[in-house]
Subunit: 207 residues, 2 copies
């Protein structure tokens, strides 16, 4: 009976203390970054005592690495299966990437700025976790781009495609701070982007 409770804590009405801390840590770390985050903020956000954080996770750094690993997986894991798929066409991949990325980031708008900043701050932890250097150059998408446009390095197109999906989220704080748009307006704009990106990429490939 006690075991059953442990096995499905997330499905129950009240989550475990460990999960409460983890959820709070995800929120605070991702919003403010590692250096600006105080463990007190996480404890307060989780509604628990500061000592419990160390009881469950030993240190701020250990807790951060756990959150960071999740976020890296989320940020790079979205597209990994799509770009490696040998069955789909280039056009399909573009459509799937745009939809998957914009849907995902729409729910976690501060993920890109967080992930990219923290990789800058500590490139090593990233190096060991995500083998992009082995995934990307061998991926189906890479090869398909090379076949379509042998005169231009595939990375140029990949940067453009990812930029079309991700850059708006990186610049989102600017838009909001400047009053150029609201959170709702931004979401609507990104929805329209999902429809526009495939055509833009198609045009780019012919240019």
């Amino acid at each position: 009976m006690a075991k059953k409770q442990q096995e499905e804590p997330k499905a129950e009405r009240d989550v475990s203390t460990e999960e409460k801390i983890l959820q709070a840590a995800r929120k605070v770390f991702t919003q403010k970054g590692y250096a600006a985050t105080r463990t007190r903020d996480i404890a307060a956000e989780a509604g628990i005592n500061l000592a419990l954080l160390n009881y469950y996770f030993r240190s701020k750094e250990k807790l951060f690495h756990q959150v960071m690993a999740e976020n890296l997986q989320q940020f790079f894991g979205i597209i990994a299966p799509i770009i490696s798929d040998e069955q789909t066409t280039l056009e399909t991949k573009v459509k799937l990437i745009a939809e998957a990325y914009i849907d995902e980031l729409g729910q976690h708008p501060d993920l890109p700025l967080f992930v990219l900043s923290e990789i800058r701050n500590d490139p090593e932890q990233f190096k060991t976790r995500i083998p992009i250097d082995r995934l990307l150059p061998g991926a189906a998408l890479f090869r398909q781009l090379q076949e379509r446009r042998p005169d231009i390095h595939p990375m140029q197109f990949i940067i453009n495609m990812l930029g079309m999906c991700v850059f708006a989220f990186v610049a989102r704080p600017v838009f909001l701070a400047a009053g150029l748009t609201t959170e709702e307006g931004f979401a609507a704009m990104m929805e329209e982007r999902k429809r526009l990106i495939p055509g833009w990429v198609e045009a780019m490939l012919k240019a």
Copy 2:
């Protein structure tokens, strides 16, 4: 004579202590961000004592605001005159923006990630300094995009254009950490981008 030395300190062989601190602060703040920066790091980088930092700039925050104001001006000031120019065509603007931005960021690769992160951390300081909400919607570029493609919001194209120039620098730490490219390779890729972007934007506008 003493006055002359003060009037042109940068032209002399040895810069003033104040300028040494400022240069060190630019470097450390921009690389690591406000929260992760220790005033001791800046002092060490400047080759001076910690107390001198407070003697010249009163506080870490005051020094940071000075660096941040410079960086904001650099990041947004590059394109401000170009997008507002009523004399140039849309095509010319695209070419000028790509060249100006990529040249500038090539010399300050960590500027975008720094500026965007710090705006996220403290939107207010940005709000008061850069009146983007008044500049952009009234700019010539904005109107020209609207005339060319009345069916698509100009902001969609502006995001793409800026993304094409800036996103690569935001993602640069990933490329370098992953070993996908070197600093020299990255610079060469961005040089090629300057040539490619005008054609891409033209194609996008017709799509």
